[in-house]
């Protein structure tokens, strides 16, 4: 039995930085924007409801602050969703899977296949409309080491699951 993993077997180990990360499909951004619309819409509706029904403040002017605060955070999260989207990516390698994400805090989680306990794919009702889904890769014990990517094409998720299942199977 020889060690066969060309990407690693050399003395100067290639960094994960050299890996070409697969970006999420553009529909994922649409899906996230819809999610943003729903959350922000609900917050706005509640605010409007309170504004129209009761008299919390004696005067009207505090509402200007409240609604501009709502607008600012909505704009921030809209911008953030985009920033995060373009920073997110994954790479399925010969021996492991890598997921990178985050804007302010960039993280890159790597899970080797021979530590995988099981793989799950999931698809919400909204994601189904876009043909998207998510994949979760579970390791033993702690939840922190679990890798989950949401907003990839459902077929892609299935392919990855197949691939990992095959890898995990062949290791044993």
């Amino acid at each position: 039995m020889l060690f066969e993993n060309p990407q690693i077997a050399t003395t100067d180990l290639p960094s994960v930085e050299d890996v070409n990360f697969q970006r999420l499909p553009p529909q994922a951004l649409k899906l996230r924007t819809i999610g943003w619309c729903i959350t922000q819409g609900i917050i706005l509706l509640i605010l409007l409801g309170v504004f129209l029904s009761g008299e919390i403040f004696k005067k009207q002017w505090p509402w200007i602050f409240i609604f501009s605060a709502w607008f600012l955070q909505a704009a921030y999260f809209f911008w953030m969703a985009r920033k995060r989207f373009y920073r997110e990516g994954y790479a399925v390698r010969e021996k492991d899977i890598i997921h990178t994400k985050g804007f302010w805090l960039r993280t890159q989680l790597t899970v080797p296949y021979n530590r995988v306990q099981h793989v799950e794919i999931e698809q919400g009702p909204l994601a189904r409309a876009f043909g998207l889904g998510g994949i979760s890769v579970y390791t033993a014990g702690d939840s922190g080491g679990d890798l989950s990517i949401s907003g990839i094409e459902y077929k892609e998720a299935e392919r990855i699951k197949q691939f990992i299942a095959q890898k995990v199977g062949s290791d044993e």
């Binding site: 993993n5 100067d12 989680l109 790597t110 530590r115 306990q117 014990g141 702690d142 922190g144 080491g145």
Partner: protein
């Protein structure tokens, strides 16, 4: 495998008959636990002859039902080993059959409550791997039988571990006789109880007292101190003396309570090295017996606070792999260890750590700056606001001292933080007041995460988190190229531990 005829564990066996009693006791305890408000009401209400007769009948009915239930549970519980699976059949009316492959059994824990000890039986708990970990537990088993069963299970594991390459290292260890590493007498327990963090409890109490003084101000309509002065004729100074005495009083209470708890928990502690790993027995009323099976130990951590350092004592913790549901339950704590016991455990878990060449690295200064910002500057803003809105000399003093203190403390922390890298594992030293060390074998890493905050990105440093099956170990603020090559090294190491030998760049 065993002496003479078929051992009891190969045929369906019952627990010890004492189990009936114990099941009944547990049932009654849980009934009381659920219905105590009702019982309280019944005891407190006005009695009338008629209704108390009714309740007596209800009581009798419940008792009879409980006894029947415990009998049924006892007679319908069987356990045995078949085809390398541990099988537990149980259930009164709905039958359940649990079968767990022997290699999925992680740890075997014996526990003895006071009742158990009266009859020399133990309760046996087996923790299993897997997300849907079905825990096997037997209420009462004769101590001898339980020991034989455990020996068989551990021996089975040892013989069959050879087949799986993942646990190779442990299998090579010979079956060694048991060696008692540590035995705590009352004197040692006293020191351990004394060395717990009483300052923290006293601090919390001081905070509570201070806020209490504030709370009662509006109720009294004037300053609480004035109230004391005018109504009770107590001077301001007297109030503070009074407060001080209360703190001292609570400190004493805290010391006594911790002492009592320490003795209850760790009474007659025995820490034993076995062929497969380690075993810990301790407890005054409930005697727990926990085993740490060497390949299941994910990492070691030992720590000491200033008082413990004075006595040369360490608090040792084993982090063991456990199923999702049992997380946290599988850390095994051995207080009052001395350096030579730590060394024994270290050698057993990570033999190479003693002679291996360690490369030591310190975190980047950014580690200090980031922590100073979060712990020093952010609270300072709050303190300044507080002092300027509601002035008092005490708060001014705290505000002025806050930044120098946190800066000094965090700087000390930075100086103490050291990461040791070796071909086989990681050694983390950290802490200023409470100093701790962590030892982790690369082979136990489940996944790795490189993290970079916005600031770290600008300084080209990064954090690296190692996830194990029993929690995570983090190294912070090391140069990005080093973090990246370390990650690649560990990934390769996980992949092929045997065929891979390169130096860390």
């Amino acid at each position: 495998m065993s002496d003479g005829g078929t051992p009891f564990y190969f045929q369906p066996s019952r627990q010890s008959p004492i189990a009936i009693l114990l099941i009944l006791a547990r049932l009654i305890r849980s009934l009381i636990g659920q219905f105590w408000p009702l019982l309280l009401l019944l005891l407190l209400r006005k009695r009338s002859a008629n209704s108390s007769q009714f309740w007596v009948w209800v009581g009798i009915a419940i008792t009879v039902l409980s006894v029947v239930r415990s009998l049924v549970t006892y007679f319908r519980t069987h356990f045995y080993i078949q085809d390398d699976e541990f099988i537990l059949e149980k259930g009164g009316f709905t039958r359940r059959r649990l079968s767990v492959p022997l290699d999925k059994i992680q740890t075997i824990t014996f526990q003895q409550t006071f009742l158990h000890r009266l009859f020399n039986v133990v309760s046996v708990e087996m923790d299993t791997t897997g997300a849907k970990g079905s825990e096997i537990s037997l209420t009462a088993l004769d101590r001898d039988k339980a020991t034989v069963l455990r020996e068989y299970l551990l021996r089975w594991k040892k013989e069959n571990v050879n087949a799986t390459p993942a646990d190779q290292e442990a299998a090579t260890a010979d079956i060694a006789p048991e060696v008692e590493l540590l035995k705590l007498d009352l004197g040692a327990l006293f020191l351990i109880g004394l060395s717990q963090n009483h300052l923290r409890s006293a601090g919390i109490l001081f905070g509570l007292l201070a806020s209490f003084a504030r709370e009662i101000q509006p109720i009294l309509g004037k300053s609480a101190y004035k109230y004391f002065e005018e109504e009770w004729g107590l001077s301001f100074n007297f109030f503070w003396t009074f407060a001080l005495w209360i703190i001292v009083f609570f400190l004493i209470i805290s010391v006594i309570a911790t002492l009592a708890l320490t003795i209850v928990r760790f009474y007659n502690l025995r820490f034993v090295q076995t062929g497969e790993g380690f075993r810990l027995e301790a407890g005054l009323f409930t005697r727990r017996e926990q085993a740490a099976y060497l390949p299941k130990i994910q990492f070691l951590r030992w720590s000491s606070n200033p008082l413990q350092r004075l006595w040369g004592m360490y608090n040792l913790r084993f982090y063991q792999a456990a199923g999702h549901e049992l997380r946290g339950k599988q850390t095994l704590q051995v207080p009052g260890c001395y350096p030579h016991q730590i060394a024994t455990v270290q050698t057993a878990y990570f033999p190479a750590s003693v002679q291996e060449q360690w490369q030591w690295h310190r975190p980047h200064r950014l580690y200090f700056r980031q922590r100073l910002f979060i712990l020093g500057l952010l609270p300072l803003i709050g303190l300044i606001l507080k002092t300027s809105l509601d002035f008092s000399w005490v708060w001014l003093a705290i505000t002025l001292l806050w930044l120098p203190f946190t800066a000094w403390w965090q700087w000390k922390l930075l100086l103490r933080k050291e990461y040791g890298l070796s071909p086989d594992g990681l050694w983390v030293k950290s802490g200023y007041f409470t100093q701790s060390q962590i030892l982790l074998l690369w082979a136990n890493v489940q996944g790795l995460e490189v993290q970079q905050t916005f600031l770290e990105k600008r300084h080209q440093v990064a954090d690296l988190t190692f996830y194990t099956a029993s929690g995570e170990v983090e190294i912070e603020s090391l140069p990005l190229p080093m973090v990246n090559s370390l990650r690649d090294y560990v990934l390769a190491k996980i992949e092929e531990p045997k065929f891979f030998e390169v130096a860390i760049t």
